[in-house]
Symmetry: C2
């Protein structure tokens, strides 16, 4: 079957969360006169709480809860651990929305713009709708619609995250291509019958990255060095 | 509070369903050699089954069911009533997707393009995600995301259709403006605390239209003659 839509992982694949979150928090800290925190380390520690926070939802221990709420709970834990005091509720809200202000990798907007001419393009991210909309608006990501955990009511890599997204587009999984820089995401999508494309993001985790440097042959249909090459390989 | 997002009714407000559906069906009928049907009347009859079909869901008699399914059930009834024979399942599917191929009013795309510079713009339609995505892609509607009945799991004018859409954008109702050509839609949105804008579509129902020719003063904050005037009134 012909591919009609491309779904995208976002954190790491479309945007550079590590640099963006640390830079955003460092700027806010400078403005507030908060010193003595390594904000790159802080961003990485925040991201480490990401999977465990979603695991509570995936396991059924907790009803579906959007990522903005999970992110904020993790942030409050870190603010305590780092003994950062004198933050108002509105300061914490602002810090939490650092995830709404992530910069795209340089090839993301040109690649998506090309892909959009032929295909439906949408995020299939664990980020919630408001996060994805604000991020896209600031970064100029030309999505046709916002899909993902909140619309599917399931966090990746649960099957429903992929299957409900295809269903909401009125498409069979074989008509959809999942694009990610993470092999585990693609493995889960492939298991549900989607096509898969791997785009390498070798600096997502910093200079010493050792994972996801290359596609796993078992779960990747289309490997690409960036979104522009991906667009060429998918017909533009 | 400042308006951050505009939500739009779509059928009648953004697109001309009556002319588009009848023209689409007439073209298909000509291709198939189906004669003797007044397709403008057929389109109007189809639309008459729209509110009753959603009422089954609103009342709780039926679990939430997307509009593509409700539209198809109504179409099957009409095909029988008009005694149109020799249609395959795929023919009926094609006819049903006439609602994915609606033409926008001439001011819709220029007005939305201006509004998008300052505000988040999204449909808040009873149409499902696939319908809205396919319609937008064909017509060039530059939505930031697709909201409405399917994401809210409620058909307008139920309160949740408006409230869940605001919540999914992370906004208070007072930060959102509902735009429609129908006073009853705006009355329901206003009752939930949204701002409201009325754009007149005096030929939606044909030359003899007698309803919704002017805004109801009680429920309309911003009256506008078209989307371009609306954009000017809302800051562009």
């Amino acid at each position: 079957m012909e591919i009609r839509a491309c779904l995208f992982d976002v954190f790491g694949t479309v945007v550079d969360w590590r640099t963006s979150v640390s830079r955003d928090l460092a700027a806010f800290a400078a403005e507030k006169g908060i010193g003595g925190v390594d904000w790159l380390e802080f961003a990485v520690e925040w991201r480490k709480l990401y999977q465990p926070s979603m695991e509570d939802v995936r396991s059924g221990r907790r009803p579906f809860t959007i990522l903005d709420v999970l992110h904020r709970e993790s942030l409050v834990k870190l603010v305590e651990r780092y003994r950062i005091s004198a933050l108002s509720e509105s300061d914490v809200d602002h810090m939490n929305r650092a995830w709404h202000r992530l910069d795209p990798w340089p090839d993301a907007v040109p690649g998506l713009t090309r892909l959009k001419k032929k295909h439906i393009i949408a995020p299939c991210s664990n980020g919630n709708i408001a996060l994805m909309v604000n991020l896209a608006k600031r970064a100029g990501l030309p999505w046709d619609c916002i899909l993902g955990a909140e619309t599917a009511r399931a966090y990746k890599p649960m099957p429903d995250a992929y299957l409900n997204s295809c269903r909401q587009l009125g498409l069979a999984p074989a008509q959809v291509c999942m694009v990610a820089a993470h092999n585990n995401d693609l493995k889960a999508a492939k298991a549900q019958g989607l096509n898969t494309a791997f785009v390498a993001r070798p600096t997502e985790h910093g200079p010493g990255q050792s994972t996801d440097l290359a596609p796993d042959a078992g779960c990747v249909d289309v490997p690409a060095s960036d979104f522009v090459e991906l667009a060429k390989k998918l017909g533009f």
